[in-house]
Chain length 421, copies 4
């Protein structure tokens, strides 16, 4: 069987190919001469699969899509507080090339506008950028020397921004060196597959889905995705988040990435830009993907089945006493556990045996595990005995036996229901 | 057993009670004389449970927390496009009482700042506001006539805003009538339990978790939550979203709600406000909740188990042919299905029977269902026969039998694995 | 003989009549329906002559041209400091209807923009406005009730401004009452002759050139003219002052006044407005007047003759001693006196008689008088005797005789040169 | 006798010496270490006298006081229109170092803020600056190399501005070269005497009062003074113009110049600056000078004597016919002539002889001359014969005889009244 995903992605590209609004970025010849019909889409999943359709082998300069990754690297190197001293996290509602400094602190409002990105770059050195982007992409990235030279030659606004930043003490380094380095960072060559896997690394809590490397810690990925959510699409951030609902970043070459926490990274390429500087077809593609796949972060999925698959009171183990057996299913998460705790509130005090059967459970979230153990602790304190049936060791107890459910009380853990005496 | 949730919530309140920064809103006596030690927290879950601790019986005026709900009602009544003609969705990076009109269209930038909220109110009539808020809260809400009168008497800025809006043709109605109505809307009396259930209604895709009423359609809830995400906390929106990561809205009485899609609604009360106009302790409470419960929207959960619980090739039905049996578990969603499709790609063309056993599946997402059927369709086209074992009718086929997997090809659906001939 | 002035003024109108750029103010029907071909020009001189040509009998509403006069009245009633607490004097570089409040004090930046003018109006009462404007015009002015009603009905922006001003504590009064009164002030009916004489009153240091009434004190006229210079033409103030160089104010009816200190007042009418809201032909007319008449305030006149018409040493009175006789001419002002003092420095110490003959002097400025007396005092202290010949009593000594030239020393004053013994 | 002017100026310095508000400019060590007690005042008159008191021999860097002079040089070299394409003339109401670009054209709002001054400098070359400033000062000015180096090393904001200007196509040159040159321009060393004579050159219609060189044409001086009036004192321009009323420019070294058209130039030095960046004592000094000397441009002088000193009808020349003899005095200017024309309107048609005696006239303004000749022309056309008595050739006819008073009609010109037959 051939996976339907590439076919679906090709369909999406075709559906958006009639969109020909927008203009090529014109400030340097290399961008102005890009082929406006270029169209590509890639997806990288948390388990490391990569799909790419259309002009997937075309390499282009990463441009502003480098901003969230450089931000993530700066967070790793300097910590959150130190980076926040230099760059804020507030949406500016302004275009990418506005200076947008906080009027009280003179900090750039966020790392997704040029002023913020230049400041972030000043916190990194050239080797760190090269190594960090290589880790995100899973391969070394080359600089397009021609684009780099061309952009640097016309980088008046970025030079202005860098000088203003040094004037305000936001950056220390030589403005020319910073703009030079930032321009090199923006001139790294990528294809949509690279971008998808880079986005997937953020979406995957910082772990590269292919190499398995923890490129940035979990909190850095979270911080970066949050900033992409509110600031990634410049002055169209609200429009994007209401219609697409995916943390994203666009670049002037026509690239556009979306990173969906836990679900993977997407990347599109189409060089024509709308008035916000975002790829026109790229936006269309993501609107389609978000709608088709129900990936809007504010889209509430239909309620899952209740955590309790069944509840029976019976003498299951033939010891002459009726046990209260709860068969759990699905995800032991906050919502499910809250529901289960309400049910457990019905258990009168007494010495009844309570069995919590996790055989049908396929994931245990951290908050769910804590709620489950706290429920068990309270049952024990009420006089019950509690037994977890956990064939797949979802509770990560290692060996079957007893488990301390908090400050003393213990419960039994068994691998099979009928293995009990 | 007593549920640990109220105890946990009480712990959170206690942990935040040493925070005494911030100032009471001072512009009207009723707010200036509020008891600054008031502290309450409530939670409403999608299944209709409500927990409330602290000063849960204290009623206070809803103030700006009314904004997202009025926005939702206007969306219902007028549709998205008509509302967007009047109010944008872009974060303003400005304080709540800034005029913040879009320089090209004169529309208020978003419905969470006063200019936008006044515009939204002008799209509703008094009866609609009363009925709509009653539906969200699950009970009729009264107006605090004293606060209303006091606020109206000092509503110079809102009058200024309303006149400016009419000047720009954004509102048609009499500015005084609009401000009067808006002030009444802001003076509705609620307690934290009301707010939690109202937030839960948004988080529950528009369905009231207690009454079961579909208060607003799914798309309206999504749109409202998205706007809360980028604009709900005024000029601290980015700070809030990076640290707390929950769609939220604050009010000048010290109320603060968070709505977590699919997971429920939280509401806190503490009257002292920080410089952004957000409840100081309220922010602390939410930071704690978000951290403890892993509810930050950008927090990637640990990877769930793979969708494929097991795969075996065997002559299960004793007909002399080996079937390829995939035992699925957990959630049939995009990520899981993508993985499964990769596995199914290994199935050579041929006439083998493929069994997809959904007995351990506890939810099927829409995108997952479509991917599953498309996979089945391709297998059939490749010559395989495909059988779903679906004891709990997760595929919602109604009766067992055959299912059209798209444009002709069919698969078998059985309720039990061993019921096959 | 017929004075050439009206003919000249008619010529100016004709020369500008081919200019048909600009648009009628369209926000109320009364202005939108004005006859765009209306064209009038008036001049009022400090001695009370009034010339008016073109549509000089057409009455129109005074609109923003009322602003400097209301400002002058408020200065009279409250004093400079109190008015400055409410309204600044800084140019805003913004259009007439911008709010333009000082970000630190919330004061309107100046009294020529609407926010400032509304604030100024709030410092006056209706009777004061009526009486004050009557004094400036030399006749009672009526309100155009239709324009007033029409403007009030569409005064959303001014209401917005007034509410914002009260919000900031800049005005205390009811915003509606203030806007109502302000709109009445703007609806006063004038013709170009009225406006010319009103401007002339300011140009004449506050004294009405016809009635002779001191309508406002000298310092108020100076303050008002200074504010007109920097703020009178909104965001075209700099363009106007460089090209025309006359303190001025425009109104949306197409009126335009210029007040040239000491020289009189001009007023033009032509309803079509440029993008700054200033009368297109009005601006042309003033450019022509300024150029033809050399009235640009920054235009340096050709140097006048030196103050010393002649200097001779001779025994004029036949007493056997040579006197040093300085025949002065023209204006005894700073420049002339400075020059004379340099000459007097050549007078060696000694007991020579110094004669200062003012027979050809036609004005003595205050600073000139002080310099002249100080020079005389120093000559006397050096041992000289000093005699003023002052046939026309330019020194205002009343009787001839002796004059105390400062702290003791005295000089002689004679009415005729040859009357000395 | 010793001129009282230096004594007066010393008195002014002493009266202001108790003012010790303000702070030294601190951004470079050379300014931060200036002696804050430095205090100097100079005056240069149109006839070339220079007075200087206090620390008159202290040299300091000219800083922003160079701006109007560079602007004047650029106007000379490129013409008004070309300069206006690069820099506007509108007050910005902003501090000296704001970028303040016109939002529609990206031009700096005026040449007195840094963005405008840098743009102006880019229109000049180094030799032109050196030669032009030497012409204004009447001597070659040296650069303070230490201040220049120090300022250049910290010129981040100016570099930012220059890059932004090139980004907008306002300047073409290399931003570093422009800022380098501009910094050298600002580092020219002057004393208050230099500044006074430079200001006097502008006040003297472009002619250097000492060297007599026409440094810039009359229109350039007018344009420059007009821009100084509205923009010279940054965001205190309105405050300055209402209280002092003199075109002015301040610099960060504590220098402050005032140029009073036709009356001369003043310069003060005192290094402590107010929050607008203007010398605190310098402002006080000018307030005092303006008040004492009645030099506020909006101060209306007391009315001069009427132009007509006397009017008699008599047979002065004994020819048996009564002539109508007007003895004129003072200045033949617009105001005086308007008055005279009103009188001449009383002359019935007829063949009477009209004598206009200019013996007591000490200046004839251009507009007055035209009005006088036009009046004469009309009298001749009415049938009168007209005779000017003009002993000092105020009408600049050269020889006595006849003068064409316009399109044919002639009048007689005589040097003495009684020389007529």
């Amino acid at each position: 069987m051939r996976s339907p995903l590439p076919d679906y992605m090709t369909e999406v590209l075709e559906a958006c190919s009639d969109e020909d609004d927008g203009e090529l970025a014109a400030y340097i010849p290399e961008l102005a001469e890009a082929d406006p019909s270029r169209l590509a889409l890639a997806l990288a999943t948390p388990d490391g699969t990569r799909y790419a359709v259309g002009d997937a082998d075309v390499r282009f300069t990463i441009q502003s899509i480098s901003k969230p990754f450089a931000y993530a690297l700066a967070l790793v190197d300097h910590g959150l507080d130190a980076v926040l001293e230099h760059v804020g996290v507030e949406p500016s509602g302004e275009a990418f090339n506005e200076i947008s400094l906080d009027p009280s602190t003179n900090r750039p409002l966020n790392p997704m506008i040029n002023a913020g990105a230049i400041t972030v770059h000043s916190l990194l050195d050239a080797d760190r950028v090269a190594a960090g982007f290589a880790a995100f992409a899973g391969r070394d990235l080359e600089v397009d020397e021609q684009v780099y030279a061309s952009e640097l030659a016309t980088a008046d606004r970025n030079h202005a921004i860098a000088y203003m930043l040094r004037n305000h003490g936001i950056i220390d380094a030589d403005p020319h060196a910073v703009v030079d380095g930032y321009t090199r960072q923006c001139s790294l060559l990528v294809d949509v597959g690279d971008l998808a896997v880079m986005a997937a690394t953020l979406a995957n809590a910082g772990t590269h889905p292919v190499t398995g490397e923890q490129v940035v810690p979990r909190w850095v990925a979270r911080q970066t995705l949050a900033v992409m959510t509110t600031c990634g699409m410049y002055d169209a951030a609200g429009d994007w988040f209401t219609t697409v609902g995916i943390p994203a970043k666009s670049g002037v070459s026509g690239g556009l990435i979306g990173a969906l926490p836990g679900k993977g990274g997407f990347a599109a390429l189409s060089p024509r830009l709308d008035r916000h500087g975002n790829s026109t077809r790229g936006v269309r593609i993501f609107e389609r993907l978000s709608g088709d796949m129900g990936m809007h972060l504010m889209e509430v999925p239909p309620a899952a089945r209740p955590l309790t698959h069944g509840h029976a009171s019976a003498d299951h183990d033939g010891d002459g006493e009726t046990e209260s057996v709860y068969e759990l299913q699905g995800s032991v998460d906050f919502v499910g556990m809250e529901r289960l705790l309400v049910e457990l509130e019905q258990e009168d005090e007494g010495a009844r045996e309570i069995v919590l059967d996790l055989a049908r459970v396929h994931e245990v979230r951290d908050v769910g595990r804590r709620m489950l153990l706290e429920g068990a602790r309270r049952l024990v304190l009420d006089g019950h005995s509690v037994t977890f049936v956990d064939p797949d060791d979802m509770l990560e107890t290692g060996d079957a036996g007893v488990i301390d459910v908090g400050d003393g009380p213990e419960a039994q853990v068994m691998r099979e229901r009928d293995s009990r005496p």
